[in-house]
Protein backbone atom coordinates (compact mmCIF):
# COMPACT_ATOMS: atom_id res chain seq x y z
CA UNK A 1 0.00 0.00 0.00
CA UNK A 2 1.15 3.49 -0.73
CA UNK A 3 1.43 5.66 2.34
CA UNK A 4 -0.09 9.08 2.86
CA UNK A 5 -0.93 9.36 -0.83
CA UNK A 6 -3.92 11.57 -1.44
CA UNK A 7 -6.71 9.99 -3.44
CA UNK A 8 -6.20 10.91 -7.10
CA UNK A 9 -9.09 12.39 -9.01
CA UNK A 10 -11.47 9.83 -10.49
CA UNK A 11 -10.27 7.19 -8.08
CA UNK A 12 -12.76 5.70 -5.70
CA UNK A 13 -11.99 5.73 -1.99
CA UNK A 14 -12.88 2.05 -1.79
CA UNK A 15 -13.92 -0.31 -4.54
CA UNK A 16 -15.17 -3.83 -3.97
CA UNK A 17 -15.15 -6.47 -6.67
CA UNK A 18 -17.35 -9.55 -6.30
CA UNK A 19 -16.91 -9.39 -2.55
CA UNK A 20 -18.15 -12.41 -0.61
CA UNK A 21 -17.73 -12.54 3.17
CA UNK A 22 -17.88 -15.82 5.05
CA UNK A 23 -18.18 -16.84 8.67
CA UNK A 24 -16.78 -20.35 8.44
CA UNK A 25 -18.75 -22.04 5.67
CA UNK A 26 -21.68 -19.62 5.94
CA UNK A 27 -21.68 -16.97 3.24
CA UNK A 28 -22.89 -13.88 5.10
CA UNK A 29 -22.56 -11.42 2.25
CA UNK A 30 -22.34 -12.08 -1.46
CA UNK A 31 -21.30 -10.45 -4.70
CA UNK A 32 -20.91 -6.91 -3.51
CA UNK A 33 -19.67 -4.53 -6.18
CA UNK A 34 -19.53 -1.12 -4.63
CA UNK A 35 -17.63 2.04 -5.49
CA UNK A 36 -17.31 4.52 -2.62
CA UNK A 37 -16.82 8.13 -3.67
CA UNK A 38 -13.98 9.94 -1.89
CA UNK A 39 -14.78 12.76 0.53
CA UNK A 40 -18.46 11.94 0.52
CA UNK A 41 -20.73 10.35 3.08
CA UNK A 42 -22.05 6.95 2.08
CA UNK A 43 -24.75 5.31 4.18
CA UNK A 44 -25.38 1.58 4.24
CA UNK A 45 -28.94 0.72 5.19
CA UNK A 46 -30.93 -2.48 5.35
CA UNK A 47 -32.79 -4.79 7.72
CA UNK A 48 -31.10 -6.69 10.54
CA UNK A 49 -29.01 -9.58 9.30
CA UNK A 50 -28.44 -8.15 5.81
CA UNK A 51 -24.70 -7.97 6.36
CA UNK A 52 -24.22 -4.22 6.41
CA UNK A 53 -22.01 -4.19 9.50
CA UNK A 54 -20.13 -7.20 8.16
CA UNK A 55 -19.33 -5.26 5.00
CA UNK A 56 -18.31 -2.19 6.99
CA UNK A 57 -15.99 -4.21 9.21
CA UNK A 58 -14.46 -5.84 6.14
CA UNK A 59 -13.40 -2.39 4.93
CA UNK A 60 -10.71 -2.20 7.60
CA UNK A 61 -10.27 -5.90 8.26
CA UNK A 62 -11.98 -5.82 11.62
CA UNK A 63 -13.50 -9.20 10.74
CA UNK A 64 -10.00 -10.68 11.00
CA UNK A 65 -10.62 -10.92 14.75
CA UNK A 66 -13.56 -13.30 14.23
CA UNK A 67 -12.43 -16.94 13.96
CA UNK A 68 -13.37 -18.43 10.60
CA UNK A 69 -14.18 -15.08 8.99
CA UNK A 70 -12.72 -14.70 5.53
CA UNK A 71 -13.44 -12.97 2.25
CA UNK A 72 -13.23 -13.74 -1.44
CA UNK A 73 -13.18 -11.14 -4.16
CA UNK A 74 -11.36 -7.94 -3.37
CA UNK A 75 -11.57 -4.61 -1.57
CA UNK A 76 -9.40 -2.11 -3.39
CA UNK A 77 -7.87 0.83 -1.58
CA UNK A 78 -5.56 2.90 -3.77
CA UNK A 79 -5.59 0.06 -6.24
CA UNK A 80 -4.40 -2.56 -3.75
CA UNK A 81 -6.52 -5.36 -2.37
CA UNK A 82 -6.44 -4.82 1.39
CA UNK A 83 -6.74 -8.59 1.85
CA UNK A 84 -3.59 -9.28 -0.18
CA UNK A 85 -1.07 -11.35 1.83
CA UNK A 86 1.52 -8.57 1.79
CA UNK A 87 -0.80 -6.00 3.34
CA UNK A 88 -0.43 -5.18 7.03
CA UNK A 89 -3.91 -5.03 8.61
CA UNK A 90 -2.67 -2.64 11.28
CA UNK A 91 -1.69 -0.17 8.61
CA UNK A 92 -5.09 -0.66 6.97
CA UNK A 93 -6.83 0.24 10.24
CA UNK A 94 -4.65 3.29 10.62
CA UNK A 95 -5.70 4.57 7.20
CA UNK A 96 -9.28 3.40 7.54
CA UNK A 97 -10.50 4.18 11.06
CA UNK A 98 -13.65 3.07 12.79
CA UNK A 99 -16.13 4.58 15.20
CA UNK A 100 -18.35 2.10 17.00
CA UNK A 101 -21.99 1.93 18.01
CA UNK A 102 -21.35 2.52 21.68
CA UNK A 103 -18.90 5.27 22.61
CA UNK A 104 -15.80 3.49 23.87
CA UNK A 105 -13.36 6.04 25.30
CA UNK A 106 -10.50 4.69 27.37
CA UNK A 107 -10.93 5.15 31.12
CA UNK A 108 -8.34 7.88 31.03
CA UNK A 109 -8.32 11.65 30.67
CA UNK A 110 -9.64 13.37 27.56
CA UNK A 111 -6.06 14.35 26.72
CA UNK A 112 -4.70 10.83 27.13
CA UNK A 113 -7.37 9.34 24.88
CA UNK A 114 -5.91 11.35 21.98
CA UNK A 115 -2.31 11.08 23.14
CA UNK A 116 -2.66 7.30 23.13
CA UNK A 117 -3.59 7.35 19.44
CA UNK A 118 -0.55 9.54 18.77
CA UNK A 119 1.68 7.12 20.65
CA UNK A 120 0.56 3.93 18.92
CA UNK A 121 0.85 5.65 15.56
CA UNK A 122 4.37 6.86 16.39
CA UNK A 123 3.30 10.45 15.91
CA UNK A 124 6.37 12.66 15.55
CA UNK A 125 4.78 16.11 15.94
CA UNK A 126 3.56 18.05 18.96
CA UNK A 127 1.08 15.93 20.87
CA UNK A 128 -0.63 18.91 22.61
CA UNK A 129 -1.14 20.47 19.18
CA UNK A 130 -2.55 17.20 17.85
CA UNK A 131 -4.93 16.95 20.81
CA UNK A 132 -6.18 20.48 20.20
CA UNK A 133 -6.50 20.05 16.42
CA UNK A 134 -8.39 16.79 16.57
CA UNK A 135 -10.71 18.00 19.33
CA UNK A 136 -11.44 21.12 17.28
CA UNK A 137 -12.09 18.95 14.21
CA UNK A 138 -14.39 16.76 16.27
CA UNK A 139 -16.31 19.85 17.48
CA UNK A 140 -15.48 19.02 21.10
CA UNK A 141 -12.70 21.47 21.92
CA UNK A 142 -14.87 24.26 23.28
CA UNK A 143 -16.57 21.86 25.66
CA UNK A 144 -13.44 20.21 27.08
CA UNK A 145 -10.55 22.67 26.64
CA UNK A 146 -10.73 23.82 30.27
CA UNK A 147 -10.54 20.30 31.65
CA UNK A 148 -8.41 18.20 29.34
CA UNK A 149 -7.19 16.15 32.30
CA UNK A 150 -10.76 15.33 33.34
CA UNK A 151 -11.92 11.76 32.90
CA UNK A 152 -13.32 10.89 29.49
CA UNK A 153 -15.82 8.70 31.30
CA UNK A 154 -17.44 11.75 32.90
CA UNK A 155 -18.39 13.19 29.53
CA UNK A 156 -21.94 12.84 28.16
CA UNK A 157 -22.68 10.13 25.58
CA UNK A 158 -22.54 12.49 22.60
CA UNK A 159 -19.30 14.05 23.88
CA UNK A 160 -17.79 10.59 24.38
CA UNK A 161 -18.66 9.68 20.81
CA UNK A 162 -17.09 12.89 19.51
CA UNK A 163 -14.00 12.09 21.58
CA UNK A 164 -13.85 8.68 19.91
CA UNK A 165 -14.09 10.43 16.55
CA UNK A 166 -11.26 12.77 17.61
CA UNK A 167 -9.21 9.72 18.64
CA UNK A 168 -9.81 8.20 15.21
CA UNK A 169 -8.78 11.47 13.52
CA UNK A 170 -5.53 11.50 15.49
CA UNK A 171 -4.37 8.54 13.40
CA UNK A 172 -4.79 10.69 10.26
CA UNK A 173 -7.06 8.28 8.43
CA UNK A 174 -8.40 8.79 4.92
CA UNK A 175 -11.61 6.95 5.57
CA UNK A 176 -13.78 6.85 8.69
CA UNK A 177 -16.15 3.93 9.13
CA UNK A 178 -19.06 4.49 11.49
CA UNK A 179 -21.12 1.60 12.76
CA UNK A 180 -24.42 2.96 14.10
CA UNK A 181 -22.57 5.85 15.76
CA UNK A 182 -25.71 7.55 17.05
CA UNK A 183 -27.83 4.63 18.16
CA UNK A 184 -26.94 5.24 21.83
CA UNK A 185 -27.38 9.00 21.61
CA UNK A 186 -30.28 11.39 22.15
CA UNK A 187 -31.64 13.44 19.21
CA UNK A 188 -29.58 16.55 20.02
CA UNK A 189 -26.33 14.62 20.31
CA UNK A 190 -27.28 12.73 17.13
CA UNK A 191 -27.70 15.94 15.15
CA UNK A 192 -24.33 17.19 16.44
CA UNK A 193 -22.65 14.03 15.15
CA UNK A 194 -24.41 14.43 11.80
CA UNK A 195 -23.23 18.06 11.53
CA UNK A 196 -19.76 16.88 12.43
CA UNK A 197 -19.88 14.19 9.74
CA UNK A 198 -20.79 16.84 7.19
CA UNK A 199 -17.82 19.00 8.25
CA UNK A 200 -15.44 16.04 8.26
CA UNK A 201 -16.53 14.93 4.79
CA UNK A 202 -14.63 17.92 3.37
CA UNK A 203 -11.45 16.08 4.30
CA UNK A 204 -12.39 12.44 4.86
CA UNK A 205 -14.45 9.75 3.22
CA UNK A 206 -17.17 8.59 5.61
CA UNK A 207 -19.08 5.34 5.45
CA UNK A 208 -21.87 4.92 7.98
CA UNK A 209 -24.05 1.95 8.79
CA UNK A 210 -27.37 3.04 10.21
CA UNK A 211 -30.73 1.56 11.06
CA UNK A 212 -32.13 5.06 11.07
CA UNK A 213 -33.30 5.81 7.55
CA UNK A 214 -34.04 9.42 8.38
CA UNK A 215 -30.43 9.74 9.44
CA UNK A 216 -29.24 8.24 6.16
CA UNK A 217 -31.52 10.68 4.34
CA UNK A 218 -30.33 13.69 6.34
CA UNK A 219 -26.66 12.97 6.53
CA UNK A 220 -25.45 11.03 3.50
CA UNK A 221 -24.61 11.80 -0.12
CA UNK A 222 -24.90 8.21 -1.30
CA UNK A 223 -26.86 5.27 0.05
CA UNK A 224 -26.42 1.54 -0.44
CA UNK A 225 -29.39 -0.66 0.36
CA UNK A 226 -28.67 -4.23 1.45
CA UNK A 227 -31.10 -7.01 2.11
CA UNK A 228 -31.00 -10.72 2.85
CA UNK A 229 -31.38 -13.12 -0.05
CA UNK A 230 -33.25 -16.43 0.09
CA UNK A 231 -30.00 -18.24 0.98
CA UNK A 232 -29.69 -15.80 3.96
CA UNK A 233 -26.67 -14.14 2.41
CA UNK A 234 -26.69 -10.36 2.45
CA UNK A 235 -26.68 -8.68 -0.95
CA UNK A 236 -26.63 -5.13 -2.19
CA UNK A 237 -29.88 -4.32 -3.98
CA UNK A 238 -29.34 -0.71 -4.91
CA UNK A 239 -26.73 2.00 -4.64
CA UNK A 240 -27.11 5.60 -5.69
CA UNK A 241 -27.45 9.23 -4.72
CA UNK A 242 -29.35 9.44 -1.45
CA UNK A 243 -31.84 11.98 -2.83
CA UNK A 244 -32.68 9.67 -5.71
CA UNK A 245 -32.84 6.49 -3.64
CA UNK A 246 -35.17 8.04 -1.07
CA UNK A 247 -37.54 9.66 -3.53
CA UNK A 248 -37.40 7.41 -6.57
CA UNK A 249 -35.79 4.06 -5.82
CA UNK A 250 -35.20 1.81 -8.80
CA UNK A 251 -36.00 -1.50 -7.13
CA UNK A 252 -39.19 -2.73 -5.55
CA UNK A 253 -37.27 -4.17 -2.59
CA UNK A 254 -35.75 -0.78 -1.85
CA UNK A 255 -39.14 0.90 -2.17
CA UNK A 256 -40.73 -1.59 0.22
CA UNK A 257 -37.96 -1.23 2.78
CA UNK A 258 -37.62 2.55 2.85
CA UNK A 259 -41.37 3.05 2.91
CA UNK A 260 -41.54 0.66 5.86
CA UNK A 261 -43.47 -2.12 4.18
CA UNK A 262 -41.06 -4.93 4.95
CA UNK A 263 -37.93 -5.61 6.95
Amino acid sequence: MGSNASVPENEFAIETENLDIFYGSFRAVKEVNLKIEPKKITAIIGPSGCGKSTVLRAFNRMNDFIPGAHVTGSILFHGTNIYAPTVDPVQVRQRIGMVFQKPNPFPKSVYDNIAWAAKVNHYQGSVPDLVEQTLIQAALWDEVKDDLQGSAMSLGGGQQQRLCIARTLAAHPEIILMDEPCSALDPTATLKIEDLMRDLSKYYTIIIVTHNMQQAGRASDFTAFFTMDTDRAGKMVEFGHTEQLFTKPQHRETEDYISGRFG
Binding site: M213, Q214, G217, F246, T247, K248, P249, T254, E255, I258, S259, G260, R261, F262, G263
Partner: protein, 226 residues
Protein backbone atom coordinates in the same frame (compact mmCIF):
# COMPACT_ATOMS: atom_id res chain seq x y z
CA UNK B 1 -43.70 -4.58 9.13
CA UNK B 2 -46.73 -2.71 7.85
CA UNK B 3 -47.76 0.89 7.59
CA UNK B 4 -51.37 0.52 8.72
CA UNK B 5 -51.49 3.97 10.31
CA UNK B 6 -50.01 5.73 7.31
CA UNK B 7 -52.15 3.69 4.89
CA UNK B 8 -55.27 4.61 6.85
CA UNK B 9 -54.48 8.32 6.87
CA UNK B 10 -53.60 8.31 3.17
CA UNK B 11 -56.95 6.70 2.42
CA UNK B 12 -58.71 9.34 4.52
CA UNK B 13 -56.98 12.13 2.59
CA UNK B 14 -57.88 10.45 -0.71
CA UNK B 15 -61.51 10.41 0.43
CA UNK B 16 -61.33 14.11 1.32
CA UNK B 17 -59.90 14.90 -2.13
CA UNK B 18 -62.71 12.94 -3.79
CA UNK B 19 -65.20 14.91 -1.74
CA UNK B 20 -63.68 18.26 -2.71
CA UNK B 21 -63.72 17.18 -6.34
CA UNK B 22 -67.43 16.34 -6.09
CA UNK B 23 -68.12 19.76 -4.57
CA UNK B 24 -66.24 21.46 -7.42
CA UNK B 25 -67.97 19.36 -10.07
CA UNK B 26 -71.41 20.20 -8.64
CA UNK B 27 -70.53 23.87 -8.23
CA UNK B 28 -69.43 24.08 -11.87
CA UNK B 29 -72.61 22.48 -13.24
CA UNK B 30 -74.86 24.50 -10.93
CA UNK B 31 -73.03 27.72 -11.79
CA UNK B 32 -73.71 27.11 -15.49
CA UNK B 33 -77.33 26.32 -14.66
CA UNK B 34 -77.61 29.58 -12.73
CA UNK B 35 -76.34 31.38 -15.83
CA UNK B 36 -78.80 29.54 -18.03
CA UNK B 37 -81.71 30.41 -15.77
CA UNK B 38 -80.35 33.84 -14.79
CA UNK B 39 -80.98 32.66 -11.25
CA UNK B 40 -79.27 35.18 -8.97
CA UNK B 41 -80.27 33.40 -5.76
CA UNK B 42 -78.72 30.13 -6.88
CA UNK B 43 -75.61 31.95 -8.10
CA UNK B 44 -75.23 33.70 -4.75
CA UNK B 45 -75.55 30.42 -2.89
CA UNK B 46 -72.93 28.64 -5.02
CA UNK B 47 -70.67 31.69 -4.77
CA UNK B 48 -70.80 31.59 -0.97
CA UNK B 49 -70.42 27.80 -0.81
CA UNK B 50 -66.97 28.09 -2.35
CA UNK B 51 -65.68 28.78 1.14
CA UNK B 52 -66.44 25.13 1.98
CA UNK B 53 -64.03 24.06 -0.76
CA UNK B 54 -61.42 26.48 0.57
CA UNK B 55 -61.80 25.18 4.11
CA UNK B 56 -61.54 21.57 2.99
CA UNK B 57 -58.46 22.41 0.94
CA UNK B 58 -56.71 23.70 4.07
CA UNK B 59 -57.83 20.62 6.00
CA UNK B 60 -56.20 18.40 3.39
CA UNK B 61 -53.02 20.48 3.44
CA UNK B 62 -52.91 20.17 7.19
CA UNK B 63 -53.51 16.41 7.09
CA UNK B 64 -50.73 15.96 4.53
CA UNK B 65 -48.27 18.01 6.59
CA UNK B 66 -49.12 15.99 9.69
CA UNK B 67 -48.39 12.74 7.83
CA UNK B 68 -45.07 14.07 6.56
CA UNK B 69 -44.12 15.26 10.03
CA UNK B 70 -45.19 12.20 11.98
CA UNK B 71 -44.89 9.24 9.60
CA UNK B 72 -41.72 10.12 7.68
CA UNK B 73 -43.05 8.88 4.34
CA UNK B 74 -40.56 8.13 1.57
CA UNK B 75 -40.55 7.23 -2.10
CA UNK B 76 -44.07 6.43 -3.37
CA UNK B 77 -45.75 7.57 -0.13
CA UNK B 78 -43.88 10.86 -0.21
CA UNK B 79 -44.67 11.47 -3.87
CA UNK B 80 -48.33 10.68 -3.21
CA UNK B 81 -48.56 13.16 -0.35
CA UNK B 82 -46.73 15.83 -2.37
CA UNK B 83 -49.13 15.23 -5.28
CA UNK B 84 -52.08 15.60 -2.90
CA UNK B 85 -50.89 19.09 -1.95
CA UNK B 86 -50.68 20.04 -5.62
CA UNK B 87 -54.03 18.50 -6.58
CA UNK B 88 -55.97 20.04 -3.74
CA UNK B 89 -54.62 23.40 -4.83
CA UNK B 90 -55.81 22.73 -8.39
CA UNK B 91 -59.27 21.82 -7.08
CA UNK B 92 -59.45 25.00 -5.05
CA UNK B 93 -58.68 27.07 -8.17
CA UNK B 94 -61.34 25.16 -10.12
CA UNK B 95 -63.79 26.05 -7.35
CA UNK B 96 -62.83 29.68 -7.93
CA UNK B 97 -63.68 29.28 -11.62
CA UNK B 98 -67.19 28.10 -10.71
CA UNK B 99 -67.46 31.05 -8.36
CA UNK B 100 -66.39 33.31 -11.24
CA UNK B 101 -69.24 31.99 -13.39
CA UNK B 102 -71.68 32.78 -10.58
CA UNK B 103 -70.31 36.30 -10.46
CA UNK B 104 -71.08 36.65 -14.17
CA UNK B 105 -74.66 35.45 -13.56
CA UNK B 106 -75.04 38.08 -10.86
CA UNK B 107 -73.56 40.83 -13.03
CA UNK B 108 -75.61 39.95 -16.10
CA UNK B 109 -78.88 39.99 -14.21
CA UNK B 110 -81.62 40.04 -16.78
CA UNK B 111 -79.63 41.97 -19.38
CA UNK B 112 -80.70 41.37 -22.94
CA UNK B 113 -77.66 39.50 -24.20
CA UNK B 114 -77.41 36.30 -26.17
CA UNK B 115 -75.70 33.65 -24.02
CA UNK B 116 -74.32 30.68 -26.04
CA UNK B 117 -75.59 28.43 -23.27
CA UNK B 118 -75.68 25.23 -25.30
CA UNK B 119 -71.96 25.44 -25.99
CA UNK B 120 -71.21 26.53 -22.43
CA UNK B 121 -73.15 23.55 -21.11
CA UNK B 122 -71.26 21.19 -23.43
CA UNK B 123 -67.92 22.61 -22.34
CA UNK B 124 -68.90 22.43 -18.68
CA UNK B 125 -70.11 18.86 -18.98
CA UNK B 126 -66.88 17.80 -20.67
CA UNK B 127 -64.68 19.60 -18.14
CA UNK B 128 -66.57 18.09 -15.21
CA UNK B 129 -66.33 14.61 -16.73
CA UNK B 130 -62.61 15.10 -17.23
CA UNK B 131 -62.16 16.20 -13.63
CA UNK B 132 -64.12 13.23 -12.34
CA UNK B 133 -62.07 10.79 -14.41
CA UNK B 134 -58.80 12.49 -13.44
CA UNK B 135 -59.54 12.14 -9.74
CA UNK B 136 -60.59 8.50 -10.25
CA UNK B 137 -57.31 7.87 -12.08
CA UNK B 138 -55.41 9.56 -9.28
CA UNK B 139 -57.12 7.55 -6.55
CA UNK B 140 -56.60 4.29 -8.47
CA UNK B 141 -53.13 5.28 -9.70
CA UNK B 142 -54.21 4.49 -13.25
CA UNK B 143 -51.32 5.77 -15.34
CA UNK B 144 -52.49 4.62 -18.82
CA UNK B 145 -55.79 6.49 -18.47
CA UNK B 146 -54.06 9.47 -16.88
CA UNK B 147 -51.92 9.70 -20.00
CA UNK B 148 -54.95 9.52 -22.32
CA UNK B 149 -57.34 11.84 -20.53
CA UNK B 150 -55.80 15.19 -21.59
CA UNK B 151 -56.72 14.32 -25.18
CA UNK B 152 -60.32 15.09 -24.24
CA UNK B 153 -59.22 18.64 -23.61
CA UNK B 154 -59.08 19.08 -27.39
CA UNK B 155 -62.89 18.85 -27.50
CA UNK B 156 -63.18 21.57 -24.87
CA UNK B 157 -60.71 23.72 -26.78
CA UNK B 158 -62.63 23.22 -30.00
CA UNK B 159 -65.86 24.55 -28.48
CA UNK B 160 -63.97 27.28 -26.67
CA UNK B 161 -62.40 28.56 -29.88
CA UNK B 162 -65.75 28.56 -31.66
CA UNK B 163 -67.61 30.35 -28.86
CA UNK B 164 -64.78 32.80 -28.29
CA UNK B 165 -64.94 33.80 -31.98
CA UNK B 166 -68.70 34.23 -31.81
CA UNK B 167 -68.53 36.39 -28.69
CA UNK B 168 -65.82 38.58 -30.17
CA UNK B 169 -67.90 38.88 -33.34
CA UNK B 170 -70.90 40.02 -31.30
CA UNK B 171 -68.68 42.57 -29.56
CA UNK B 172 -67.86 44.07 -32.94
CA UNK B 173 -71.44 43.92 -34.21
CA UNK B 174 -73.09 45.09 -31.00
CA UNK B 175 -70.63 47.39 -29.25
CA UNK B 176 -73.35 48.43 -26.81
CA UNK B 177 -73.17 44.89 -25.35
CA UNK B 178 -69.41 44.79 -25.08
CA UNK B 179 -69.39 44.68 -21.25
CA UNK B 180 -71.79 41.75 -21.18
CA UNK B 181 -69.94 39.93 -23.94
CA UNK B 182 -66.74 40.42 -22.01
CA UNK B 183 -68.36 38.68 -19.03
CA UNK B 184 -69.29 35.74 -21.25
CA UNK B 185 -65.69 35.49 -22.43
CA UNK B 186 -64.77 35.02 -18.79
CA UNK B 187 -67.25 32.16 -18.46
CA UNK B 188 -65.82 30.16 -21.36
CA UNK B 189 -62.31 31.06 -20.31
CA UNK B 190 -62.94 29.70 -16.81
CA UNK B 191 -64.26 26.39 -18.13
CA UNK B 192 -61.39 26.11 -20.58
CA UNK B 193 -58.88 26.71 -17.75
CA UNK B 194 -60.64 24.12 -15.60
CA UNK B 195 -60.05 21.48 -18.29
CA UNK B 196 -56.41 22.61 -18.54
CA UNK B 197 -55.95 22.07 -14.84
CA UNK B 198 -57.26 18.52 -15.18
CA UNK B 199 -54.11 17.85 -17.19
CA UNK B 200 -52.03 18.91 -14.19
CA UNK B 201 -53.83 16.31 -12.08
CA UNK B 202 -53.03 13.64 -14.69
CA UNK B 203 -49.37 14.67 -14.62
CA UNK B 204 -49.33 14.26 -10.83
CA UNK B 205 -50.87 10.78 -11.11
CA UNK B 206 -48.03 9.74 -13.39
CA UNK B 207 -45.53 11.30 -10.99
CA UNK B 208 -46.91 9.35 -8.03
CA UNK B 209 -46.49 6.03 -9.81
CA UNK B 210 -43.33 6.56 -11.86
CA UNK B 211 -41.51 9.36 -10.08
CA UNK B 212 -41.28 11.22 -13.40
CA UNK B 213 -42.63 14.73 -13.77
CA UNK B 214 -43.90 14.81 -17.35
CA UNK B 215 -45.53 17.54 -19.38
CA UNK B 216 -48.60 15.97 -20.97
CA UNK B 217 -49.38 18.90 -23.17
CA UNK B 218 -46.92 20.44 -25.56
CA UNK B 219 -49.07 22.81 -27.59
CA UNK B 220 -49.64 26.25 -26.07
CA UNK B 221 -53.39 26.61 -25.56
CA UNK B 222 -53.82 29.94 -27.32
CA UNK B 223 -52.42 28.57 -30.57
CA UNK B 224 -54.67 25.52 -30.71
CA UNK B 225 -57.13 25.69 -33.59
CA UNK B 226 -56.25 29.24 -34.51
Amino acid sequence: MSRDTLNLHIQEIKDEISEISSLVENATLKAIESLKNRDSDAAREIYLDDRIVNEKRYQVENSVLIQIATQQPLAHDLRLLAAMLEIVSELERMGDYAKGICKVTLNLGNADVNVPIKEIESMGKLAVEMLHEAIDNFINEDVPNARLLPQKDDQVDKIFNKVEKEIIHSMVCQPENIDHSNLLLWVVHNIERMADRVTNICERTIFVVTGDLVELESKPKNLVGK
